[in-house]
Symmetry: C2
Subunit: 296 residues, 2 copies
């Protein structure tokens, strides 16, 4: 089975390294330089016992036709619009973006099968061809449109080494992840703390609950207490991790705040809900985003 | 005229240096060591052209009777309760604490004349006997109880070198300062920025307005737009300054958050007002307070 992976960041490289061998994998990079480097060196996976090298084929995106059974789109949400025109009109697509803002873009696509996924692995791209797998987790996937057949086949082939779990309802799945992201990312980024700190420090935990409350109201959760417990569990399970938003701010990279808080605030506006805390954190992250890091 | 100054932090030393010569000044320190050092070296005032030395008399607080015409209490709000029992029962008292939480303590005192003040100078204690006067401003003072006569006399003697301005209404004076502190201190401390950044960065300015709105509602301002303009003016006038709360957090010292946000939230609770942003910033500052600085 031919698998295309669009985007060679941490998630794209992680999927390439684990799926290569079981599938015929091509990675589509943004630059020709990175494609050449991966074709020369393979993708190095740093994990536990020692690095493994996967001999993955790579092409720069847009330099030729894409002909895959499944194409996995592993770019950030804010990069999605720029890659959409390069995606194939045939085969199935799997989108791994955070948030839910990308769903309205997917509705406009003409492909028969569209899947969405939510990645629960910790991964860090160390060089253009090296990815470190820091936290083993799983990938939750669900059907957005069409038949689940291909997705089920891929999931069964991956089995234990890189588990992919089929979820019955894409909205529930993405909304759950979004709520966790909307709470953990902005709070850790503004407070400058690792994930675990949000539940270890009683003051931060109280704040986490208040912020979660606003997100849960907007997303219309039927079981907010279970969802809140899940967010706290994620904080404990990834206790030593620094969130992606904290790392992005520290590195002066753009954050995913629009995909996460921006989406929730748009939804809140549509329904005339207040959400003062989400709005405050949005402004704080955007303020830091626009400034780069402060010197004092 | 005999002036006592309780507390030899930045504000206490600043007042001692400027009032010495015009008045017979005694500084009351917390430790015997600091009193000995000041008696030996005087108080060094670093400002503009070069340092000046004021030969100020110093005593450790509680080591003897206090017999002054005016005693100025220049300790932080959270240190106030521990010095109250040492204050003289005669003469006038001038309290320079931030916030308004100390007013209920003042009501219990038996002294005839009580004044309150609000210091608009920038000062930094560099060593136990050296203070740097970074930002020349003024001290606003008002009568809390009794006759203004002594206060007027002191103000006229200080005149231009260290101006003291009499305000007609202590509540208006302290509420105005409190609103500015409630906005500028927590925001700069959590965002890690200097004061000017709050009005230079449009995202932060929007946030400042939202936080101010909550404080203004609690304090019952009749002219919120003028007050907001004043807060922004303070940000611009002290543009390069790092707020006291930011400095306290950075140095791992306790902050004045209880005197500032804690007071406002108590008032909000009494009147069943929500104040979600003030509450969130309170939890964030308290969380950082309790942790010392984060390492990541």
């Amino acid at each position: 089975m031919k698998i295309g992976i669009v985007g060679a960041g941490s998630i794209g490289l992680l999927f390439a390294a684990y799926m290569n061998g079981l599938f015929d994998v091509t990675v589509y990079t943004r630059t020709i330089g990175q494609a050449e480097r991966i074709n020369r060196n393979g993708v190095r996976l740093v994990k536990g016992a020692g690095p493994l090298t996967a001999n993955v084929r790579a092409k720069a995106l847009g330099t030729g036709p894409m002909d895959n059974d499944l194409t996995i789109i592993a770019v950030k949400q804010y990069q999605l619009e720029s890659v959409l025109s390069h995606l194939p009109a045939k085969g199935a697509l799997l989108f791994l973006q955070n948030g839910m803002g990308h769903l309205r873009l997917l509705e406009q696509l003409n492909v028969e099968a569209i899947y969405v996924g939510s990645v629960e692995h910790g991964a860090l791209r160390e060089t253009p061809d090296t990815v470190s797998h820091n936290g083993a987790g799983l990938t939750r996937v669900a059907v957005f449109r069409g038949s689940p057949d291909l997705l089920e086949k891929v999931a069964s082939l991956l089995s234990d080494t890189f588990p992919m779990k089929l979820e019955p309802d894409f909205y529930e799945m993405l909304a759950g992840k979004l709520a966790a992201n909307a709470v953990i990312n902005p709070l850790t980024a503004i407070l400058g703390v690792r994930n675990g700190e949000l539940v270890e420090n009683p003051r931060y935990e109280k704040l986490l609950e208040k912020v979660f409350e606003e997100a849960a109201a907007i997303l219309g959760f039927k079981d907010p207490q279970d969802r809140l417990a899940n967010v706290k569990r994620i904080c404990r399970n990834t206790s030593e991790n620094r969130s992606s938003m904290l790392k992005d701010l520290d590195a002066g990279r753009p954050t995913e705040v629009d995909a996460i808080l921006g989406y929730l605030l748009d939804e809140a506006d549509d329904r005339e809900m207040a959400a003062p805390l989400l709005r405050a954190f949005y402004e704080m992250i955007k303020g830091k985003d626009s400034n780069g890091r402060e010197s004092c």
